[in-house]
Subunit: 706 residues, 2 copies
């Protein structure tokens, strides 16, 4: 049954693009004819799917060309959209296939539209499944072109097939340490910011729509809830392009984590927000009156769905407690299936699968990843990277395509201009006031330049598109969809592509500029630089020098941590990690003596074995886009390089430091450590002064980088 | 459109397993009700798909347990089937969901069964797509259980989703060198053998069916073409279990290649054979008379489809000429898309996608694999391994499930017994006479023990199942399907699981037994062993010792090659490989001087660079199932280990041999070479006597292992 429908992936896409109509009159030969028709349909669908595959292939080749020639003016997703647009133009104006005469219109005495229809054709029963309502807004003649009709996907595909790998990958590749350190700010931006943005956009658009109604430019109903829904939809910023910008812009990793974390989480917030606005809608649909009950209900839906999805995602992420280390294939398969089942479980429980998958990815990156064998870590990373890449480019190609092939576009200049103004205002109302408030509490201030970057990096991408195409039944929804499409195009092309040089220019100012952040960054860099060279000069031991750096830096970061984070960190490090992963100190060491037996049962044998090299398993810079992040990696990911190197047993313990295995944190210009020419043997004496007097008593003995 | 149907993967599988009926009477609220129903349906489908995911998860965990505890009595696919059976029993007898009342049966005035139906429900148009004919053989009450009906997949799924990765992986992991060396024998077994088997089974079954008709046990029509079709279906042996058996059985790699190659290729032959028998059928459907025209047509279809698919697969395999070495992600994505497009292209051209994919995989392993960066080689290998693993276990789980959930089983004891006898006879008529004939021409004889192994290893698996479930419209087809299911179960459980100890015992006899093959193998092994130790003792240089071995062995294998193979090899090595891959000697060196300019244009710059280390790129033992083949790898895959090691620039050229870079071929007991303790530095003197006086003048300078 399921597979039946997967098959139609091949079988039903753009059926009959190339074949004309083929009426079958002979009822006696009906069986054979049906078979032949099915074959023909299958043949056609294969050909049509081939078009999409070719589109993706073309995109990949062009991306390669761009990367090879180091063209940076257009992001790959922007490219995919352009190709989609071209094919859309060809399909729209180049090919015209009239509606197939095999489609029989029946006006039978059915009251409802059942999910399944059994049609009795001269004694044989045929089963039909409901595909959806056919749009009749502009009359049936709009649907005349079979090909354009076939090219329009079921929007649910985006939520069920294409978004999950993208969102999971985003969660799985969140820079975890920096993410958790900035959790407060990220949550503020993601929750409060998105809600603010949603309401600002909603209000501005309501003003715009009212104006349009006065001028007489509005061709249908457009309620306040529609405006709010529009606000929720276009408040979701896209995390994918942030990676590219982050590559250009050598920004502080904390601030990167902020930006990436915000754009990942606000997707989750936007999707739940839009569904809770949908829950408000039925009651307020036909009235402009304010309905307090419905509002509370909406709020309840929001909280329930979000926390439910969160709990589910975290629970399944935690459950994926794999012990299959010896068989990477089995491990990878299990990991994949568990992640997928998270999605399905959430959907089955009427939660939001995409949100669950996001938190599942984050939890798995934090816990499960440590249990995987190195081979599986690599495999899962690469698998999800590939799925993410294909899904992303497919969505953006389809976006380009749908601009021409969607047959009920409603483009309204006033609405479009209004929406561009509103998203600008909404983004501004999100970033600037919140940054100001957050800066009151933050040690590591969010500089004004960085606020501008966050403002610009608010591209709208796959999630916005998927949310807007989900429902195009009413006039308001159609106008929203068309406008959203334009917003995505413009933000991806202009912000994602054209402004990277501008941002790169701004990033130069970020390093040399007069703001407190920049001076701080500069000073820290110079300081570390001096220390690196000093320590290299003193003992030529790269491990020690990194740990030296770390000692300094940890003192710095230890101070700036808020207490809730510190508490969480300690709890996580001391109890959760040992319980859920093979890494971390054994529970026998962290639990009180009275719980000795319990602790012994719950600690895996590997935890004892791994005790010495634990901090290597939990590399922070988990998944970095190989192609994109090279520049940035050179600067900051030496932690990772060190981690990989020290995974080698002979580097795994720093002999001079003993139990004081210190940790690299924050940005540090230690790219020289990657240089193989520097791997001169360490001298017998190693410097003791970096033994970190500011060490947190809670986190002792500390063996894990968070 | 395509995605619409992919979504239904989630949305429509087993709709309403847990929900009962929910009639919607209110036509005014029809829109909202439809939406809610769609949501509910989606929720249910997620829950149901979850069952399948859990089934797979359970299988993986049990496989792990088996591997961990080294249980060998049951193959993992056998395990998947058992779990499928259990779930099938539960679904069949534990849960009963009555047919949903939403399914309206309409008896409208439609003459044919159109692919799409537009239903006018009080002014709104709903689109319905044809799902298929509902079986009415036992009356509509059979279809009463909604859940069982929903659990039955569209058989095309197997051909379009699940088989392609399995078959592609089989092609991609064929041991190429040994495959090509035994090409003649493999083709004989695959083509002639499968046709012989098909006709033998067909004839035996026709006898059986005639007997049944006489006794009055036949409940419907069963023509000779049905018998032949049954023969074609059950002639496809499964390659997957061969790997496991090969693991147990330390058999000559040539003979392994024979066995694996046969079972891969006969899948392709069986699928084309069954479709060409189908082409014969319409004319001979209602008569027992022999139709020469139809036979010739069938034969034409067979040749056309097979050669067409072959050409397509090879063409796209060759076309995947990737130069994206710097970006493994792009490269992997491109590779994946190209392989998929091969399938689609073949289906669009009315060829057989599965066959095309097989040859595409083989071609890509032979050419494209050499162009990939090492990272991409790893990624593609792992990706397809995962896809293969998931698809395989899914199919076998479903097989178990369908024994109880398929509602129109026709089990006929006589037919079942007859079919078991016939497949035994068919397999025997395939293996023994052909082996006898082939042995007349082969230097490396196919021993009688090995013939017995091939006889036993003829498991029926995924392809047989997919072919038999493809059409279950008639009584004959249903009986064939039910019987095939039993055949698959028994062969997988008995041959794939239980007899591995027996085969392992037989393999001991293969090494020590009195047949010429075994003596030969023993002698060769002893000889090589002596040489290895001698050369190690003389100069302790592993590279040289391997090449020494190679010199001896190549002389041996050079002789046993048939001239068509030698010609092909030379052509491939001298022209095709340099043209299509970065490996091989540059065309400028192999083409005559008059073609200098052309050769220069066609040779990639990398070919010159790689010139020195070419033979390393073309490792023969491309994809070995990590988990399974460990034992075997220890014995023979030292070639690979060497290849990997010499890919390191400092090993890439053997200084003493100069242009005489010799090649390791055949089985050799050089596993010691993998031992890192043996890597003592090579002495200045290296032994010249192994410079291979029998070297083929055509293949000089020889830098590539075939």
């Amino acid at each position: 049954m399921m597979l039946l429908l997967v098959v139609r992936v091949y079988v039903c896409i753009f059926t009959f693009i190339f074949v004309g109509s083929q009426a079958v009159e002979n009822t006696a030969m009906d069986n054979v004819a049906t078979e032949r028709r099915a074959e023909e349909s299958h043949r056609q669908d294969s050909a049509d799917l081939l078009i999409f595959i070719m589109l993706l292939t073309l995109t990949i080749l062009t991306i390669w060309l761009f990367k090879h020639r180091r063209f940076r003016f257009l992001h790959e997703t922007g490219l995919a959209m352009i190709y989609g647009l071209l094919v859309g133009v060809i399909l729209r104006f180049g090919v015209h296939v009239p509606r197939n005469t095999n489609n029989v219109t029946m006006s039978c005495s059915v009251n409802a539209s059942p999910a399944t229809l059994l049609v009795n054709v001269s004694g044989r029963f045929y089963e039909y499944t409901l595909k959806g309502e056919v749009s009749t807004v502009k009359g049936p003649e709009v649907q005349d072109d079979e090909m354009l009709r076939k090219v329009t996907f079921d929007p649910e595909v985006f939520f069920n097939i294409l978004l999950p790998p993208i969102i999971f990958y985003a969660g799985y590749s969140l820079k975890r340490r920096h993410f958790f350190r900035n959790l407060g700010s990220i949550l503020a931006y993601a929750f409060m910011g998105t809600v603010i943005s949603c309401f600002v956009i909603g209000l501005v658009m309501y003003g715009c729509v009212s104006l349009m109604k006065t001028v007489g430019q509005l061709g249908g109903d457009f309620f306040f809830t529609d405006c709010l829904l529009f606000g929720a939809i276009v408040s979701a910023t896209d995390p994918i392009t942030v990676l590219a910008i982050f590559n250009e812009l050598k920004v502080d990793v904390d601030l990167y984590a902020l930006m990436f974390g915000e754009s990942v989480l606000n997707d989750a917030v936007a999707i739940v927000l839009s569904s809770s606005i949908g829950a408000y809608q039925p009651a307020g649909d036909n009235s402009h009156t304010f309905d307090a009950t419905a509002l509370i209900k909406s709020f309840g839906v929001f909280l329930g769905v979000f926390s439910g999805s969160f709990a589910l995602g975290v629970a399944t992420g935690v459950m994926t407690f794999t012990k299959l280390r010896d068989f990477p294939l089995l491990e990878t398969a299990l990991f994949f299936l568990m992640s997928w089942s998270t999605f399905l479980l959430a959907e089955a429980c009427e939660m939001t699968g995409v949100v669950a998958v996001l938190f599942c990815g984050m939890t798995q990156a934090h816990y499960t990843y440590n249990n995987l064998s190195p081979d599986s870590q690599n495999r899962t990373k690469q698998l999800f990277e590939l799925l993410n890449f294909l899904a992303e480019n497919f969505i953006f190609s389809y976006m380009g395509l749908t601009l021409f092939t969607f047959q009920s576009h409603v483009f309204n200049p006033m609405f479009i201009i209004g929406s561009f103004i509103s998203i600008f205002l909404g983004r501004a109302a999100n970033i600037y006031p919140l940054s100001f408030l957050l800066n009151l509490g933050r040690k590591n201030k969010i500089g004004s330049n960085f606020q501008h970057v966050m403002m610009f990096a608010g591209l709208r991408g796959a999630m916005t598109f998927a949310l807007s195409i989900r429902d195009t039944a009413t006039y308001a929804r159609r106008m929203m969809f068309s406008t959203t499409l334009l917003i995505v195009f413009l933000t991806v092309w202009v912000c994602g592509g054209g402004t990277t040089p501008v941002l790169s220019f701004m990033s130069i100012r970020t390093v040399h500029g007069p703001t407190s952040l920049c001076i701080l960054t500069l000073l820290v860099h110079v300081f570390f630089f001096v220390i690196v060279f000093a320590s290299v000069g003193v003992d030529s031991d790269q491990d020690n020098s990194v740990n030296a750096l770390d000692g300094i830096q940890r003192r710095d970061t230890e101070h700036e941590r808020a207490w809730p984070f510190r508490m969480w960190y300690n709890f996580d490090h001391t109890y959760l990690k040992p319980l859920l992963t093979h890494s971390g100190p054994p529970l026998t060491a962290t639990l009180p003596a009275c719980c000795g037996h319990l602790a012994h049962c719950l600690t895996s044998p590997q935890a004892y074995e791994n005790e010495g090299r634990l901090h290597n398993d939990d590399s922070d810079d988990l998944v970095l886009n190989d192609g994109n992040a090279t520049m940035y990696e050179d600067v900051t990911v030496s932690t990772d390089a060190l981690g990989t190197r020290t995974a080698n047993p002979k580097h795994s313990r720093m002999p001079a430091f003993g139990e004081h295995e210190l940790v690299v944190r924050g940005t540090c210009l230690v790219m020289q450590l990657d240089d193989p020419t520097m791997s001169t043997p360490p001298p017998a004496t190693s410097p003791p002064p970096f033994s970190d007097p500011f060490v947190d008593p809670f986190s002792e003995p500390r063996r894990n980088r968070l």
